[in-house]
């Protein structure tokens, strides 16, 4: 085991580190940038913004995505908003507060200097997006509007209805389109990266499969950037897109990039509960709903049973018969506690038997109070004295509709119930992965010239991500961090010239990719890829989900190994190599999840504490809250691949907190 160097600049106060560092790193002159190629894999907020910015700077960018357009990357599905320390509301926000909230929200397991930098550039992101024509919500004076998200006491979240991710991604996509038109980005749609190519220890290219023709292609570059998102689909069921996968991240891990904190995953508290075994994915209901929605279950078990059996409706229960358990347990933050806390609280109530649907895994998210409140306010604004009950509801409903209309519509289409009239049912689901490829302050992995940005890396959210911070981090990395730090590395490459793809390293990488694909097509096994993916997902959810313990994790490791062995013996992939073959695409992705899942469990087993999204049942306080162990675990676990997940070697990056005092996180 070695200690990792994070390359955080020494000296300087936290507030000055990034600006000083930027002023002193190497630059590449504009004429030389024309001779340098950069590969960007993934075109979500991180990859899209990086590709556009690098091309604007003058580099030749080769961008890849598995979808038919960069605009479809899963960042598009982010609903609620993006944080920025603009303090437009004058409620006392500042870079420091955003930094502080993020470190605290991450349960003191993120890298302090990275988080401060994130807060520092957050304001620029909003400026940039507005300049691109992103239609953020505005107030009647024409200025930008804000809302609140969990885990903070200010309003700093900018939003575009419930489609903030879509609008930000379309902004980055438009910036990419401008560069594609100029020929500075070569866009490879419907392509999947299947391996990275290293030459003399440096990342110099990738092997990609053209998903339409099946052709295996070689692409070279002076640096490679991985922006392929998170690994939430290791659970099979998640709020990720069906195609979201860890293959790019896992392949680079196998080629020398350390993988950090895989056990830090976010189970999002407000998702639509599952309804049956056929289910293919889960749908998120934005955290922004917790601004106005109140979460509850019945106080009395009789009412729970009556509701489950259809004898009572939730609207029949009086205020006294409801247990607003978040408001009860966490009076200071109430319904706006961070996601990990809200999820565990829902699990606690459901485990205790108070779940409100047939599966016993659902709680209510109720807008009745908000409709009343807004209705009365509107009546006053419209000079309606003594409004009728119906009028108040009508006016209040209109406000809720304006704020969350598309989310309510989405819910109604899936569940076939009207959430304006009856409370929504929600339950936690896998949503985001804080863990990922280890990167230093420059966002470079442990492989030279290989970078990792956005959700695919690990650094900014610690053990738990606050709402509206993923969009911020993706765009910060892509627009404002990587374009600077990558120049420092590429400054040494100005005389290298074009990288040839006719080398033994490319030969070897292509050969191993082809061998794996050949194996799948020729195996002619007995079970479909999904069969194995579902098996893995079940193990992950039951034993590496919202609560974990030693016994379960040990079992998980064993069971995943068994599933993986069976997969390689009996998986069945129809069709052929040189065609559009979706089963073949899935097979490669699931093969990687089957390895990642084991490392995940191993990491969770190693981390003998509870922090953020990682909750070990052995480590709790007397009142059932997570119990961190700063003496023994204030480090990043970065795993080195040595041939098998079970033999991965642990490296530690000790976390230093100079500007922040480590405290027990309390939202009470």
């Amino acid at each position: 085991m070695t200690t990792l160097n994070s390359r955080v600049p020494k000296g300087d106060s936290l507030a000055n580190k990034w600006s000083n560092y930027k002023e002193h790193i190497n630059l590449v002159n504009p004429a030389n940038k024309r001779n340098i190629d950069i590969i960007v894999v993934g075109t979500g907020l991180a990859g899209g913004s990086a590709a556009a910015t690098l091309a604007e700077l003058g580099y030749n960018v080769k961008a890849f995505c598995y979808q038919d357009s960069p605009r479809r990357a899963h960042s598009i599905a982010a609903q609620g908003g993006i944080n920025a320390a603009k303090n437009y509301q004058g409620d006392g926000d500042s870079n420091y507060r955003l930094f502080y909230d993020t470190v605290k929200g991450g349960d003191y397991r993120s890298r302090e200097a990275n988080v401060y930098r994130l807060a520092e550039v957050s304001g620029n992101i909003i400026d940039q997006c507005v300049a691109q024509g992103v239609p953020f919500a505005r107030d009647y004076g024409g200025l930008l509007d804000n809302r609140s998200f969990g885990g903070v006491l200010v309003s700093r979240t900018f939003y575009a209805k419930g489609q903030t991710g879509q609008q930000l991604l379309l902004g980055a996509y438009s910036a990419m389109n401008r560069q594609i038109a100029r020929g500075k980005i070569t866009m490879h749609n419907r392509h999947e990266m299947l391996d990275v190519v290293k030459i003399d220890g440096k990342a110099r290219g990738i092997i990609a499969r053209n998903l339409i023709t099946g052709e295996i292609e070689r692409h070279s570059a002076h640096a490679v950037v991985i922006a392929s998102g998170g690994y939430g689909n290791v659970y099979f069921l998640s709020t990720n897109a069906m195609g979201s996968n860890a293959t790019a991240a896992w392949k680079i891990h196998k080629k020398g990039a350390y993988f950090a904190n895989p056990c830090y995953t976010q189970i999002h508290p407000t998702c639509i509960p599952r309804s049956g075994d056929y289910q293919s994915k889960l749908t998120l209901m934005s955290e922004s709903l917790r601004n106005d929605g109140r979460i509850w279950v019945p106080k009395n078990m009789d009412d729970v049973m009556a509701i489950r059996e259809g004898r009572k409706k939730p609207t029949d229960l009086s205020e006294e018969e409801r247990d607003y358990y978040l408001e009860r347990r966490y009076p200071a933050f109430g319904n706006l506690v961070p996601r990990d806390v809200a999820s565990r609280a829902a699990k606690e109530r459901c485990d205790a038997g108070y779940g409100v649907n047939a599966t016993g895994e659902a709680v209510y998210l109720d807008f009745k109070s908000a409709i009343q409140r807004y209705g009365k306010e509107q009546a006053k604004l419209h000079h309606i004295t003594n409004p009728s009950k119906e009028k108040v509801i009508e006016l209040g409903t209109a406000i809720i509709e304006a704020k969350y209309g598309n989310l309510f519509q989405m819910y109604e289409k899936i569940v076939a119930e009207n959430p304006y009239k009856t409370p929504m049912m929600i339950y936690p689901a896998t949503h985001y992965t804080m863990g990922g490829v280890w990167v230093d302050y420059n966002l470079m992995t442990t492989v030279e010239g290989l970078y990792c940005i956005g959700e695919a890396n690990f650094s900014d959210h610690g053990a738990n991500r606050l709402g509206a911070s993923a969009l911020m981090q993706g765009l910060a990395d892509g627009y404002f961090v990587l374009p600077y730090t990558i120049g420092d590395y590429l400054a040494d490459d100005i005389r290298t010239g074009e990288i040839s793809t006719k080398t033994t390293e490319f030969d070897a990488a292509e050969k191993s990719v082809k061998e794996q694909l050949d194996f799948f097509i020729n195996n002619k096994g007995t079970h479909s890829v999904d069969y194995y993916h579902k098996k893995l997902g079940k193990i992950m959810w039951e034993k590496c989900g919202m609560a974990r313990n030693k016994k379960g994790l040990e079992e998980a490791i064993q069971e995943i190994q068994e599933v993986r062995e069976d997969f390689w013996k009996h998986v069945k992939v129809p069709g052929s190599l040189n065609e559009f073959n979706q089963e073949l695409e899935k097979a490669g992705r699931v093969a990687d999840f089957l390895e990642l899942g084991e490392l995940f469990a191993k990491d969770a087993l190693n981390r003998e504490e509870s922090c953020g999204g990682h909750f070990r049942e052995e480590h709790v306080t007397e009142d059932g809250e997570a119990k961190r162990d700063d003496v023994n675990f204030a480090y990043v676990s970065a795993w080195e691949y040595t041939g098998k997940p079970s033999e991965a070697v642990l490296h530690k990056e000790e976390l230093e907190f100079k500007d922040i005092e480590l405290k027990t996180r309390s939202y009470k």
């Binding site: 357009s69 479809r72 899963h74 598009i76 400026d127 239609p135 919500a137 749609n189 897109a241």
Partner: protein, 248 residues
């Protein structure tokens, strides 16, 4: 419920293609349409047949990837949704469901129900952007107030997901709703004014070059659009186009 499916199967772009009949049984009314397709594909894989290729990704109606033409309607028999949000409760036991790809000359079939929509990409590349570099020193986001009504209207146009249902639905295979949504978003905002003339001219030229038809004001696109993009946007684009051409 038990259903008969008649699905368009086409090996690749050069194949002629045909409708093939399949049966699925015990389909729950709570399933989404694509989950029903998953059941069919699992069945096909297990029996040694090739599964049906179809585009899908987010499965929550926002990525714009899914693109089926179901019983003669883009995204099937419900309004304001994409195929992935369509639920089986919209169908009855014993129904026969026809499933085809989005059809238009500018959307060639890649395989089965998967079509090539890169024509949309080239239209966006021809002008669907505001030319502003990332610098970190653009003016403050609140420097120019924008009327809430304009911002909201721009947002309504900007919600287009680029799925292509408008093209598939239009008897002329016109892409006017898609193109006008982007033109409108920028036309409604002060940031978009500087390049307004070039934008509309270039995007319309590219749209024509891709072989999309023209608009004859039928309005079917608006009805089938999963995001409710309004026909008003087409009127606005025509106005922008007229303004641009009359400037000379």
């Amino acid at each position: 419920m038990n259903l008969t499916l008649k699905i368009w199967r086409q090996k690749d772009a050069n194949d002629k293609g045909k409708l093939v009949k399949y049966k699925v049984t015990d389909i729950s009314e709570h399933m989404s349409f694509l989950e029903m397709m998953d059941v069919l594909n699992e069945q096909l894989v297990n029996s040694g047949d090739e599964p049906v290729a179809f585009d899908h990704d987010c499965r929550e109606g926002i990525c714009g990837m899914c693109s089926m033409y179901i019983n003669g309607q883009a995204h099937g028999p419900d309004r304001g949704i994409t195929t992935c949000q369509l639920h089986m409760r919209m169908f009855n036991d014993g129904d026969t469901i026809y499933i085809e790809p989005f059809r238009a000359n500018a959307f060639p079939v890649i395989k089965d129900l998967v079509v090539d929509r890169t024509a949309f990409e080239r239209i966006q590349q021809s002008g669907g952007f505001i030319s502003v570099n990332t610098s970190g020193n653009t003016q403050d986001a609140n420097a120019i107030p924008i009327a809430k009504s304009a911002a909201d209207e721009a947002m309504d146009a900007a919600t287009c997901i680029g799925c292509g249902a408008c093209v598939a639905t239009c008897k002329n295979s016109s892409a006017m709703l898609f193109v006008s949504a982007k033109v409108s978003q920028y036309a409604l905002l002060p940031q978009g004014q500087v390049e307004a003339t070039d934008r509309v001219m270039n995007m319309v030229a590219q749209m024509d070059a891709e072989g999309f038809g023209n608009c004859t004001n039928t309005g079917a696109c608006e009805v089938e659009c999963p995001k409710g993009i309004s026909l008003t946007n087409i009127a606005r684009m025509n106005r922008e186009y007229l303004k641009a051409t009359s400037k000379g």
